[in-house]
Symmetry: C2
């Protein structure tokens, strides 16, 4: 029956069944978006491929976004699913240049969940909402049978008022733009994975989960012409830059030496076999601004604690090749591709 076939160990790109990698932020997730969701829901707001939709209702410019959170474990160094669910959606609004105002919360609880666990999570949500200055105004709870959930899944949706004077999104990125990151990369993913794998490091690594409207507001207050913002969650810096490079058909060049990764995260990534460029962050973002304003933008970012470690890591080049390249410390160049498979499932 079976023919003999040679197969290489590349990730399966089959469309027949959902794989964990369809949720990983890489190539398969983009295929799912392009082949299922975009054709079904064909809408200009969706096709803008940004972190949220920019809407205008009776002259008021609003951003609207949603994310579900299925992180495992529920609790990890530096946070839990609750503050992640607040910060993640707050940050998607911030990436639209919008001041986050109102959040919804939809809980899918698994039968048998300890009430105390739920309380700890909702307490964290309240604290995170207060810190981010948002109100949680509407919610819903569903319960699924034991074995058909994983303790708690949370969806949050958010509404914010767009304060950025110009549009913010991949379509605004231009050759000559500076590529800034707001701080050191990889802490969230490493914090999660270290718990899952039962690893202990000399210095414990805590998730970077944090709200990011304040640094965005600082950029806007400084009058920076912000072209694009993207928080570096699933798939990390590499995936975010690939999405933007492909959306605009532009080449983004990174300087390896400039990319900030803390020593503990670097060490942990080596042990775990991870590339920090692909590891998820929950309190870091990339900003595209005109090179002439890069220094002022970095100053504005560094004035806020959460983005005190902001640096320029690269530039957008003239070439019409949709790709991300990394110039290594020794001068070589390599393409930084989008991941096909799944590096870290259920990271957020």
């Amino acid at each position: 029956m079976n023919e003999f076939t040679l197969s290489c160990p590349a990730p399966i790109l089959s469309e027949e069944r959902i794989l964990l990698a369809h949720g990983g932020g890489g190539r398969l997730m983009h295929q799912l978006l392009e082949r299922v969701f975009l054709p079904a829901f064909r809408d200009p707001a969706l096709e803008a491929r940004h972190d949220g939709a920019a809407l205008e209702i009776q002259g008021v410019r609003l951003a609207f976004t949603t994310d579900s959170y299925v992180v495992r474990p529920l609790f990890f160094p530096g946070g839990n699913i609750g503050d992640l669910a607040i910060n993640g959606t707050v940050n998607d609004l911030a990436m639209c240049g919008a001041r986050p105002l109102y959040l919804s919360a939809g809980f899918i609880l698994e039968e048998g969940l300890a009430m105390e666990t739920l309380r700890r999570v909702t307490d964290s949500m309240r604290a995170a909402a207060e810190r981010a200055g948002v109100r949680l105004v509407t919610g819903d709870t569903k319960v699924v049978d034991q074995g058909h959930g994983d303790g708690i899944y949370i969806n949050t949706a958010g509404i914010g008022v767009i304060e950025a004077p110009g549009e913010i999104g991949p379509q605004r990125v231009e050759p000559g733009d500076a590529v800034l990151v707001s701080g050191d990369l990889g802490a969230h993913g490493v914090a999660i994975l270290s718990v899952r794998e039962g690893l202990e490091f000399e210095a414990p690594i805590a998730s970077d989960t944090a709200p990011l409207w304040e640094p965005v507001a600082a950029l806007l207050a400084a009058g920076i012409e912000v072209h694009c913002l993207r928080d570096l969650t699933r798939g990390g810096l590499a995936s975010a830059l690939n999405e933007i490079a492909q959306a605009r058909g532009l080449l983004i060049s990174l300087e390896e030496a400039a990319i900030p990764v803390s020593e503990p995260v670097k060490g942990a990534c080596e042990i775990l076999g991870l590339d920090p460029l692909y590891v998820a962050n929950e309190g870091r973002f990339v900003a595209f601004v005109p090179q002439s304003q890069a220094e002022r933008a970095l100053e504005a970012l560094r004035s806020v604690p959460v983005s005190a470690g902001a640096v320029q890591v690269g530039s957008v080049l003239e070439e019409k090749t949709a790709a991300v390249v990394l110039r290594s410390r020794v001068g070589g160049r390599r393409v930084v591709d989008m991941l096909s498979g799944e590096q870290l499932p259920r990271i957020c």
Copy 2:
């Protein structure tokens, strides 16, 4: 070790672990709301206990709401989880007197789900969104490991513009109000349960899932002073009325003979041991309006196909007893309480 104790079979009100009934729309769900969510998120919009939050942003009156959908099976006579997820959130906006405009969709997919199943669901969502006149503008997809989901869970959140001139909510309900329902009750719950139980009835019973903004708009266009609206989902008419009676400390009286239940649904409920007053609907709502406007309100409702079967089923009485009573066909009165346990888990 065990002491001998007499125990009655009443549902456990324990707070220690989440039970299926915590998601059922009855007493346990209200306890969860009161003991966990409201204290954690203390916010006036949440405390209004309506189907969505009424917000004002730069002078624009918006409604914002969310619901997660975990119905099993995913497909049932008359609909599937996809159109349910659109209609349910559209209807929560409509119940705020708001014209539904924009929806978000968050998918939690289970590893191994057939892509074809997802396509059928997204196709239904598009069709339902078109029918309801809403745009799906932002979304998110997560994938969970096989065994930690149930094919597809969907969260939708929605934004609408409030067109009702006055506030709509339980706080507006007054003694003397007429209680109207928009059509016959129980079809959704019976449709779901008949599939689960593998029952076949002479006449197949299809879910009533439908968008409800049109009948609400008809009430507003007719100048009806709408006091409160509530769609009759989890827990059915009995639970919705109990919530409102308790929120306002008022007595609601129902006429059993006036409550519309189709013969097939009545028969199925008898076989299945269900009380149609508690069975979920996904295209039916209750409206509280001044008795003097009841006839005009019914005319307006009957002018729209989805609410062609609208009737008055009761009134709000002067007595300061927070309860719902049913006057039976033979003249007796009985209290229609909120369910403690779970009649139909995972109905939406």
